[in-house]
Structure formats: C-alpha cells, structure tokens
C-alpha cells in the first residue's frame, strides 16, 4: 500500500490505480448527452487541482461558463471557500424553548415530510417524560434533532471522514463515502443517527420513491433499492438544502408551540444568539464536551 513509503506516488500512479478499479469515465461520458470533451478536460484539470498544479479558483473560472451553458443554472457553484480565507457565512444553530414545546411531534412529522426519510428513521424525535404523582404532575417534552455538535462524537469516530463538520456549523454525512459501519450511531450521545435500511412507504403511498430530499444539496433522483443513501447512516442536517434556498428548517417553520428558533450564532444580534444568552439556556450532556449547536431553554 505504500503506507510508509517515503516516495509519494505520482499523479499518474494514482490515476492508474483508480482507472483500474473504477468504470471507464470516457465511456460513461459518451452515454451522456453532455459534452464528452468538457468532461474529460474537467477531469484532467481536476487532477491538476488536486495535485496543487492549478488553483481551484482558476479551475472554476475556466469551466463555470461552459457548465452553465451545459446545465443551466442548476450548476452555479462558485469556487469553494478556501480555508485560508476566514469563513464569513452564517454558523447555524437552533434554540428550543422547552417551556413552549408542547410535545406535539409536529417537528417529527414535518421532518419526515421534508426529508422523506424511510420508515424507522426519524431525524427528530420528541421524548416525553412524566414526573410527579397525581395530581401534582408535569410532563417534560424534549425534542431532539441532531445537535450539530461543534466537537461531534460521530465525526470523531467516523473511519472514513464521511461524517464531517462544515464551516456553517452543520455536521454533514457524505453518503457516497459512508461505509455503513454505524460506529457514529454508537458514538452519538444523543441517539441522533439512523441507518437507512432501504425500506420505504411505496406500498402505502403512491409516489413515495419518486422524490428524494436533496440532502446536503445532492440530487439523488428516485429512491431505488441498493442506491445511496441506502446502507448508509443519515441524520438531521438542519435542512441544509432549505437553508440554502432561504428557508428555515422544516421543523422550525412549522413548530406549532413556537418553541423552535433558528439562525446564525455568528451574528450576536440574531434571534438565536439573544435567546441563547438567556440564563435558561443549557445544552444536553454538556459534560461530554460535544458542544452542541442546539441550545435548550429550560
């Protein structure tokens, strides 16, 4: 494997290795109605980008025009924000006011509807605990999305870095990379992750398989047996795709207790920043050091 070899393999060697395992890209490209040459050129230059021979910005400059003409504005991605430049976008976070949460599970269902998760998978659940004895009782309703921890236990353990933290605060899962080992599920202290067993609702619901949610901005087309994300782990992603189109997460939009708040923790004047400053604020299992981005108000 050359793990400890002093000589790094050349780009060509990488290329050869990969070309041996992976399907022939040129053939695939031929079958697509899009420009084969463009594809080949892009791939070539992509390798150069990886090898540090051209800058990613230049790569985008060269190709963005042809991409837009080829795909329309479906493909309007600028150069990825580079690490050296300080990230200035929002850092998302959520505040849930437990005094207002009525334990209705609207968040749970809205999340199902938005993310069209399979049976047995709820990105958000609402935990109910009854306290006290008749007639002096109370019920605690605890909605639990993914905490999008700043020090996420799931990311920590993921062997492939399929789980990783985005700069906007969201913990993402690259389902194309995930091997489905479920280590992250075991590691998450909040039980926020689920495995996609590959089942669905099609038997009871016409058209369920037709639409999948563009989680993490990925267009995965129809849901099909054996196709990613089946066999991988999934979780609440703060409705990344909604955020990108200017919508708050589905559960926040619809929370009928008006208990869920959302916004940019980077902005000290945002609603969430102000709420999180309340003495009522706390985070779940704070002692574990996971630093959740979901703040509760007790």
């Amino acid at each position: 494997m050359g793990l400890f070899s002093k000589v790094a393999p050349s780009i060509k060697e990488f290329g050869d290795m990969v070309n041996n395992i992976l399907p022939d890209g040129e053939k695939e490209l031929e079958q697509s109605p899009y420009d084969t040459k463009l594809g080949l050129d892009m791939a070539r230059d992509a390798r150069k980008v990886i090898a540090g021979k051209i800058k990613i910005e230049d790569f985008h400059k060269v190709y963005s025009a042809s991409l837009i003409s080829e795909f329309g504005d479906h493909f309007v991605s600028g150069p990825e924000v580079s690490k050296d430049k300080k990230y200035t976008g929002p850092k998302w976070g959520m505040v849930i006011d437990l005094k207002k949460c009525i334990g209705c599970d609207t968040c749970t269902v809205s999340c199902k509807a938005e993310n069209r998760t399979p049976p047995g998978m709820s990105y958000n659940v609402v935990l109910e605990t009854e306290l006290g004895s008749y007639p002096n009782i109370s019920v605690m309703n605890l909605p639990r999305p993914c905490m999008q921890c700043d020090k996420p236990a799931c990311v920590q353990v993921c062997p492939t870095r399929a789980s990783f933290k985005m700069e906007n605060g969201i913990v993402a899962i690259d389902n194309d990379r995930c091997i489905g080992c479920r280590y992250c599920m075991v590691a998450c202290p909040y039980g926020a992750r689920s495995y996609d067993f590959g089942n669905g609702y099609e038997e009871e619901m016409t058209g369920y398989d037709e639409i999948t949610s563009p989680e993490y901005g990925m267009d995965r087309g129809k849901r099909k047996k054996g196709k990613v994300p089946e066999g991988t782990v999934r979780k609440c992603n703060f409705c990344f795709h909604r955020l990108e189109r200017g919508e708050e997460p589905a559960c926040v939009e619809t929370c009928i207790g008006d208990a869920r708040f959302f916004g940019d923790f980077n902005d000290p004047n945002s609603v969430v920043s102000k709420l999180a400053a309340s003495p009522r604020a706390f985070r779940l299992k704070e002692e574990l050091g996971t630093q959740p981005r979901v703040v509760y108000l007790r």
């Binding site: 269902v109 058209g207 619809t254």
Partner: protein, 1032 residues
C-alpha cells in the same frame, strides 16, 4: 426527467476521473487533517448545490382538511414519474404565510405581496430565523399527502357483491352506477332514488290538512291525494317521501346542504355536527341572543390575563392547534395564567398553572359552584348585569348586555319572559324593574337585578333571581362532591377568575358538553363569562364573526330557484317540540324515542330511528366523509342496522378509501381527496381578521374519481330537480361542475367588503396558469374556469386563488379596549325556549336557567351505571377523527389508542403499562393496551377515539376477484421496542390497531336501541361511558 438522469450520469462520470482526487487524501489526508484542525473538514465533499428550489409556479395555496379546522396551507408541487397515474406529486405542505391562522405570533404577510415574492420568501433566516416562504401547520397537516396518495384509494365506482359488508366488490362504470342508483338494481334488490323520491310543498298539504281538521275534507280523499307523495297521510307533518332519502355529509356541506334542502327537498340532511359539537354549540347559542349564533367560547388569548381551558385541548385538537398552540405558548410567556379543567392531564394541562381534574360530567356543578361563590361574594360586574339594552351598555363602555334584569313570567307554566304587551307597556319587548316600576327593556337604563314579586297578578322573578336561586340550591359541599373538586380550590378558582376585570376568558368545547347533562353544563360555564361581562373585551371573550361573505354578493349561491323546500319532521326528531306533532296526539307521553327540541342534524340516531320506524323509515342514504358506524355511539348497533336492507334499502357512499361505514354501502363512488378538489369548509375563525379560506385542487391522483358535488349534480340533473344544471342559480347561471359553483364563490369573496381585492396583474395571471398546469396537467383547463365567472371578476378571482383565500391585513384589530369584531348583542342567563320545552317521556318542563344537572336516561331517571370506572375519550394528538389512519407518518408517532389508567386503579387490578386488558361496558367488550399514568383522575379511565378502524386499509377486501391485503406493520424486527409513551422507533404499525371507543357507548334501555344523549340537544353522551377493566 431523462435529461436529469443523464446529467447525473455525466456527473458520475466526472466523478470517476475525479476519484483520483479521492485517493490522494488517504496519504495527505491525515496530515492535512492534523494540521488543519481535526474537526472541520478541509474539503467539503458529498455536498452539492442542488436544493430543489421552487418558485410560485410550483406552489398552490389551498386548505388542509386533515382535521375539521381547515387551516390554510401551501402545497409545493413537483412533477412525478411520467408513468405515474397522478398529474403531479405534492412535495411538501406548509402553512400559508398570507393567512393569520398559520402565522402566529409573527402575523401574516401583507395580502398584497406579489405571490412570486411571497413564495420566494420575505424573511431573513440568519437573523430572525424565519424565511417566511411557508408557515405553520400541525403534524396532521404535514402528513396530508399520505391521505391523498394512499394506495388504498378507491379507483372506480364499486358495486357490492354478496351481503352488505361482505368486503367483496366489483367495479362498474359511472354510468352504470348512476343508472342503478337512480333506477334501482335488480340483482341487489335496491330501489332507485327516482322511485323513492316524491315531493309536495308543505303549504299545499297543510292547506288540505286544516280542511280535514275542520271537517271540510275527508281523510280518504286526503289519503288518495297524497299517498304517493307523503310518508304517512295520517301524519302529514312527517313530510314528503323525499324525506326518506337521508343525506349525511361530512364535508362539501355548503354545496350539499343547499341541494338537500332546496333541490331534493329532504328534511333529513345530516352532517358530522350531530356527534361533533352539537351540545356545546347549542349550550353556547342558547346563552346568547339567537338572532346571530354564537357557537363557540374562545378567549382572546393574545390579551387575556387569565384563561380557563375547560374540557378542550387547544394545544392539539379543537379548531386548530396550528393557531391556538402558538397563541397560548406565547400568551403564557407573556404572563397569562391558565387553568385547565379536564379529568386528564392533556397537552394543554401540561402548560397550565393549575390542573383541575374534574369528575367527568361534574362541570355543571363546578361552574355553578363558582357562580355561587361569585354571587355570594359580590364578585360579579353588577353594573354590567343591570344594563338592559344597547344604549345603557354603551354608556357603560360595554358592547353587550344581559337578560339578568329581565322579568320572567312565573305564572305561566312555560315560564316565558314577561313581555311588555303582557303589562300593556308595548309589544314584544322584555320587561325590567327600574326604580320599582316595570319598564320595557328598551326604555330602561338600568334594571333591578333581584326581583321576586307580583305584577298585575303575574308572579314574576328576575332572571338573575332565578339564576341565583338555582346557584344557591346546592351548598358548596354538595357541588364539591358532584364535581370532586375541593371547596377551597373552587373558591380560589372563582376568586382568580374574578380578579382580572374583563381580561379573563374561557375556552371550552367538547369535554363538558358530551354528556347527558351537557347542555346545562355548557350553559353554566357560559354564565361565568356573563357574570364578569367579558364579551368583546380585549383579553376577554370573542365572538368570531369575521368572515368574508361567500354565498352572497356577486352571486346568490344559497338560493335554489324553484326550490323543493325541505319540510317535515326529520327522522331524528330534532328542532321539533313533540307536543306540536300529530304523533303526540296519537301516542301522548312517553314518546317512543326522545325528541330533541334544541337538537340539530343528529346523525347518530338516523339508523336506530329508521330501524324502529319512528317516526318513519328512511329508505336511502347518501353518505360522504362521515361515518356513523365508528363515530356514532354504539358502533355494533349502528353496524347492525346499516347492514340491514330492511332498515335502509339503498346505501350510496362517496369515499376515498373504503371506510367503516362505506364498507356497508351498496355503491361506493370514488371521491377526490382534499388535495384534489374544490370545497368550502369554513374554519370557525378564531382570529381577529376577516377571513376566507379557499380549497382548490393542487394535484390529481385518481383519474376516474369524481367529487361528491359532481355526483349530486349528475343525479339531481337526471331526476330533473332544480338547483343544478341549467339555470341552477338565481341569476340564471348553470351548475354542471363543482367549478361552476366554487369559482363564483371565490368571486363573492373577492368582491365582499368596502373594496374588492386587487386585480391580478399579468405576471400573477401567468403564475396562476403555470402553477396549475404544473400541478394538474390535463385536468386543468383555464377557459373552463374563466367561463364560470364574469370577465371583470376573473382577475380578482385569480388574485384570491393565488393567495389561497382572502385575509384582512393586520393593524386594525381593536376598537379602543374592545375587539373590532364584536358580539354587540344580548347575552342570556335564561333560555326561554328550553323553559318552554318538555321531556317527551315524562312531559315535565325543562329548566330555563343553568343548573348542576345529573346524568339521566331518556326516562328522566338518574343513570345508575353498573360499572365502577368512568371512561372518557378525547381527540388523538396525532390523528384526526378516523380519517388519517392512512398516514403512516402519523401512525409512527403513535399507532393505537392506549387506555389511560391511574396507578391507583391499575395496582388494584395488577395492571402495568403495556398490559392488555378487556374493557367492558354495558354494550360490549373490547381489548386494549394500557398506559398507566398519573395524568388521569383515579376512578376515571380513558383513551383517544381515533383508532380501532375495521376498514380503511385495515382489513382485506376483494375487488373484481382481486384480493387486497391489509396494510402491514413496518420494520423488520420480530420484537417490539416501542412502549406506550416511548414510541420513537419510527415504525408505524398496521392500520386499525387499538379499539373503537364508540363501541363501548352505554345503552339507554328506556328506548329502543337507545344510547345516552343530552336530553335537549341530543348530542351523544360520549363521555358518560362506564366500564370495568380486566387483565386480558
């Protein structure tokens, strides 16, 4: 679509080259990771830029009908697969941001916001957390697509094979279905509507009938003349044979009621109201002037200082948790106090400052005890109560006034109000005592509150005195015993209630009402509002009358030209005093079955009445979206009768899935689901804004389905009846399709008020068409819609449709310290009508003022149950009535109804959470799983009523020889992880779990196949169920 696939192919191919990039990180990766910080990934991977964004062309605003609150919603539509049967797929439902119902507490966006902009969003997620591209709905609303896209939808008209309820069907064409429904079917031996139907106007019959009574006409002659048109020529007051066609409409009510009452001419029009809120509604209506009906008791949450939530659960049920829940949580945050009176710890009780677990049915006693304390301690608004009329109220800064000072004629057995004419003071005015002399109420400035005297030989008492006497009849201890609330607690509650001036209110609905004493309990609760005089006050009681007019204005949609006006005694004997009927003359007391002078549309008694043939038999039943079998009391009894062709000869049901009642139909007609059709179901707007929602199609899933309206149009047209077809409306326009009606309705809404809505501009017109083409495909024909209204109306109609309704802007909600939309009228302590009515069994008069009544059977005796536990029931948090069972997402939240048992009762029987028990009532025995909880009063058990389906995809059916298996439980595990209360695995169970609450309803043995019901209003006593439980 195929282009999309290929695009993915391209990207995938790119990926294969790009994969080179992936190998690199294996070696450089770890190093880079360590250098660059281990948490945040240096390179974003697996993240794309496809966000499934949408524009106004992918959105249609309509209304939710998952429950009966009918919230306004937004549907985001996407194209589905080309070979799907549907025209489009509804991607996601959210609330309508134009509508005040869905935008609490932010407030709805400006009505004139262009749709394109509204759909793009008017908020800022990062800063305020809101994009306002959509708004709130409750969980049931979120799951709505599963109702519409249910694979169990009825696809074609079905005709029964074998006995009713056999579960075997064959598909037939619409033409055949219509033909057999109209002409009868030889093989099913069902008569046709044409044979059954016959009509004659009331005036004609009654003219001859008076001739008989005066001897001018012989009975035989009368018989001869009317035997083919009247149900019974000996009892012409039963009405025409048309009455033997009963209509049960759970929705599309505005449309169908018009035709039932004016085209078909049947007095037997029913909707779900009879088992929904009738008793509560009548208790409220009869506590206010009846000229305009005040049906609900809802406080102004946004300004109240203290609210009592009395037997309702606005956080999850009532008329829209979507609106109420955020209103209440924000009010509580503001500092509002809330007390919940409910035998169980509801989701609303969880948030309350105080939970008062009243004894079920003890609400009247509790309210009367509070009234007693308030009166004894002079905590009522005396000045308010003395105001006898509008003018005097106004000088007090009040907009309402009461009958407290009005005098009642105690010498008359019927105890009516004393009228001015009785004293020669005028005409029909009421009389008050002012400065010791009787004055017509219109002339007085203040009436004396406590009067007990004789005027002109007439014994009179003031209403207040009558009420006070009633309140004082029982001691606090007695009351306390009846409601099982400690005296101290009652006093404290009464004190609290009277400590906030006008800023208190009561929210009440079904809990106290659905008892045999419901009417009086609801009345008693209303009295609390009267005593503090909180009506119309900011923070007080609201009157909910802000609606845009829909059936009048541009088009008169209510009137049927050349109508066959329905008349005669309805088979459930509602709204009719027994003594005025020819049957009374024949039978006297006791009547065979109860008569409900204050009742209306008592759907639950249709089948048993017909079975007894009292007062007559119905012959045909046409049903849509309501299910007496599972929603009415004594399911087994209802089922027995609907199955029996001797009880009802023809049963036609329009349904989307074969439901519990539909299952017994002779013909099943596939209806359009709520997301596919036009409709008009009004929420009872609980808001301060003039409001009109719209229900319009947003997709089409079942190609051959037809909306129930179409069925009525087609059948009535074939019968040659008015109100449909050509010249169906007063202005001469025709109704051939539902659109012919509903678009005009939209026009009415658009033009109501001082100023009509704006015209849709060219862009909005384009959006309108594009969105509908995207959503409905070939089912959309813009010209067809356009032609239903006048050219000058069209663009305004579009304006309203594009916004899913018409909503008054914010900022004009109050008039000083009062609400803008007001009751502005008289409120009643005394129900003169009730006082004049008698029990059809005992012939004894009812009481005119509220009091702490007991649970009684029809024969007037106090009900003595032989089971130790009282069983109450409520609306499921996650299901709406019985019609959301198809929603797997909702079943995931909870798939069945658990029997709540207090640990005290549980330990006596050695029962634990999760155990199976048998619940036995005096009707039947059902099996249930138990949830042991501190959240229910000891001695009381209960469950939500939305489960226990026996159809609707929960049992096998056969259509054209093809079997359809029931829905199975989800998940691959052989064991159960969920426990009652901890059901987070996300696996829905099969349909039809749990038990039918209504199977348990107690019998009332004092009449044929009787059940307990309120004696005046007739609402079933759903909460007076007594059971025992045994471990199964």
């Amino acid at each position: 679509m195929s282009k999309e696939m290929n695009r993915r192919g391209f990207l995938k191919a790119l990926g294969t080259f790009g994969a080179v990039a992936l190998v690199g990180p294996a070696f450089v990766g770890p190093v880079k990771q360590v250098l660059g910080g281990v948490w945040t990934e240096d390179e974003v991977h697996g993240v794309g830029t496809f966000y499934q964004d949408y524009t106004a062309e992918n959105v249609i605003f309509t209304s939710c009908q998952q429950c009966n609150a009918t919230c306004t919603i937004k549907a985001y539509i996407m194209p589905g697969s080309q070979n799907g049967p549907y025209s489009s797929l509804v991607r996601k439902i959210a609330g309508n941001q134009y509508s005040p119902l869905n935008m609490v507490p932010y407030g709805h966006i400006n009505y004139d916001t262009p749709v394109a902009q509204a759909v793009k969003g008017t908020g800022d997620v990062a800063k305020t957390g809101r994009g306002f591209r959509g708004a709130r709905t409750c969980l049931k609303g979120q799951a709505g697509i599963q109702t519409a896209y249910d694979t169990f939808r009825v696809q074609k008209p079905l005709k029964r094979v074998g006995e009713r309820g056999s579960g075997v069907w064959k598909t037939i064409t619409w033409d055949q279905a219509y033909k057999e429904i109209l002409e009868g079917s030889a093989d099913l031996k069902t008569p046709g509507l044409k044979t059954i139907w016959s009509y004659v106007p009331e005036s004609v019959v009654m003219e001859d009938w008076t001739k008989i009574e005066s001897g001018e006409m012989k009975q035989e002659e009368f018989d001869q003349k009317y035997k083919d048109v009247l149900i019974d020529t000996k009892h012409p007051d039963l009405g025409p044979k048309a009455n033997q066609i009963a209509v049960m409409a759970g929705h599309r009510r505005e449309f169908i009621e018009r035709l039932a009452g004016g085209s078909l001419g049947t007095a037997n029009y029913y909707d779900h109201g009879g088992y929904c809120g009738i008793t509560s509604v009548m208790g409220n209506v009869r506590s206010h002037d009846s000229e305009k009906q005040k049906k609900r008791m809802i406080p102004d949450y946004e300004n109240a200082e203290m609210v009592i939530v009395w037997g309702t659960n606005p956080m999850t049920a009532n008329r829209g948790p979507t609106t109420f829940a955020p209103m209440i949580t924000n009010a509580l945050e503001r500092g509002m106090k809330m007390v919940v009176i409910d035998p169980r710890f509801s989701k609303t009780a969880e948030k309350a400052h105080q939970w008062i677990p009243v004894k079920p049915g003890g609400d009247g006693a509790l309210a009367m005890a509070m009234c007693r304390w308030i009166i004894e301690n002079n905590r009522y608004d005396e000045l308010y109560l003395q105001n006898p009329n509008k003018d005097s109220a106004e000088t007090d800064g009040e907009t309402t006034w009461s009958d407290a000072s009005y005098l009642v004629n105690a010498s008359d057995k019927k105890r009516p109000f004393l009228r001015a004419k009785d004293l020669g003071l005028g005409a029909e005015e009421f009389v008050v005592l002012e400065n010791g002399i009787p004055v017509a109420h219109t002339k007085a400035s203040h009436g004396k509150l406590e009067v007990n005297t004789v005027i002109n030989g007439i014994k009179v008492k003031s209403v207040f005195t009558l009420f006070k006497e009633k309140a004082m009849e029982k001691t606090m201890q007695n009351y306390s015993k009846m409601c099982d609330v400690p005296v101290d607690q009652i006093n404290q509650l009464a004190r609290e209630f009277t400590s906030h001036g006008k800023k208190v209110g009561i929210h009440s609905y079904r809990g106290p009402a659905m008892h045999a004493n419901g009417y009086y309990s609801v009345r008693a609760i209303n009295m609390l509002n009267h005593l503090v005089g909180n009506h119309d006050w900011k923070g007080g009681d609201t009157s909910l009358s802000a609606k845009f007019k829909a059936t009048e204005g541009r088009y008169d949609l209510a009137t049927v030209p050349n109508a066959n006006k329905a008349w005669g005694i309805p088979v459930t004997r509602h709204k009719v005093p027994y003594e005025k009927t020819s049957l009374f003359k024949k039978d006297g007391y006791p009547a065979k079955r109860p008569w409900y002078p204050l009742g209306n549309k008592l759907i639950q008694d249709v089948l048993p009445s017909s079975a007894e043939g009292y007062p007559y038999k119905i012959r045909a039943l046409i049903i849509n979206r309501t299910s007496p079998v599972i929603a009415g009391p004594r399911s087994e009894m209802q089922e027995k009768f609907i199955k029996d062709p001797k009880v009802v000869e023809l049963v036609v049901s329009s349904d989307i899935v074969i439901g519990e009642t539909t299952k017994f139909a002779d013909y099943v007609l596939p209806d359009l689901a709520y997301l596919e059709s036009w409709n008009a179901e009004d929420i009872f707007p609980i808001i301060k804004y003039k409001f009109a929602g719209v229900i319009q199609p947003v997709t089409r899933i079942v190609p051959e389905a037809r909306p129930t309206e179409q069925v009525y149009i087609d059948l009535l047209k074939a019968m040659g009846l008015p109100g449909v077809g050509e010249k169906a409306l007063v202005d001469g326009s025709s109704i051939h399709t539902p659109e012919d009606y509903y678009l005009k309705r939209i026009a009415n809404i658009a033009f109501d008020g001082k100023k009509p809505v704006k015209d849709a501009n060219a862009e909005e017109m384009k959006i309108f068409e594009k969105a509908r083409k995207n959503a409905l495909g070939k089912y959309f024909d813009v010209n067809k819609l356009k032609n239903t209204v006048k050219p000058e109306e069209w663009s305004k109609v579009i304006y309203v449709l594009n916004r899913g309704g018409r909503f008054e802007p914010q900022g004009d909600e109050y008039r000083g310290n009062q609400l803008k939309y007001q009751w502005n009228n008289l409120v009643h302590f005394y129900d003169e009508k009730a006082a004049g009515f008698k029990s059809a069994y005992t012939g004894k008069f009812f009481e005119g003022v509220p009091f702490a009544e007991e649970i009684r059977t029809y024969n007037g005796e106090v009900y003595k149950p032989n089971k130790p536990l009282q069983f109450i029931n409520w609306k499921s948090r996650n299901m709406a009535t019985h019609r959301t069972e198809s929603n797997a997402w909702l079943r995931e939240i909870r798939s069945e109804n658990f029997l709540w048992v207090n640990p005290i009762d549980a330990s006596k029987r050695d029962i634990k959470t999760g155990d199976e028990v048998f619940i036995s009532s005096n009707s039947t025995k059902v099996r249930a799983a138990v949830l042991v909880t501190e959240g229910i009063k000891p001695g009381v058990v209960g469950a939500n009523f939305s489960f226990g389906q026996s159809a609707y995809g929960s049992s096998e059916i056969k259509i054209d020889g093809k079997k359809t298996e029931p829905v199975k439980a989800y998940g691959h595990l052989p064991f159960e992880i969920n426990k009652p209360g901890q059901e987070e695995t996300g696996y829905a169970k099969e349909r039809g779990r749990g038990f039918s609450v209504n199977a348990l309803a107690d019998k009332d043995n004092s009449y044929f196949e009787g059940f307990l019901a309120d004696l005046l209003a007739g609402g079933p006593a759903q909460q007076d169920v007594f059971v025992d439980i045994d471990k199964a």
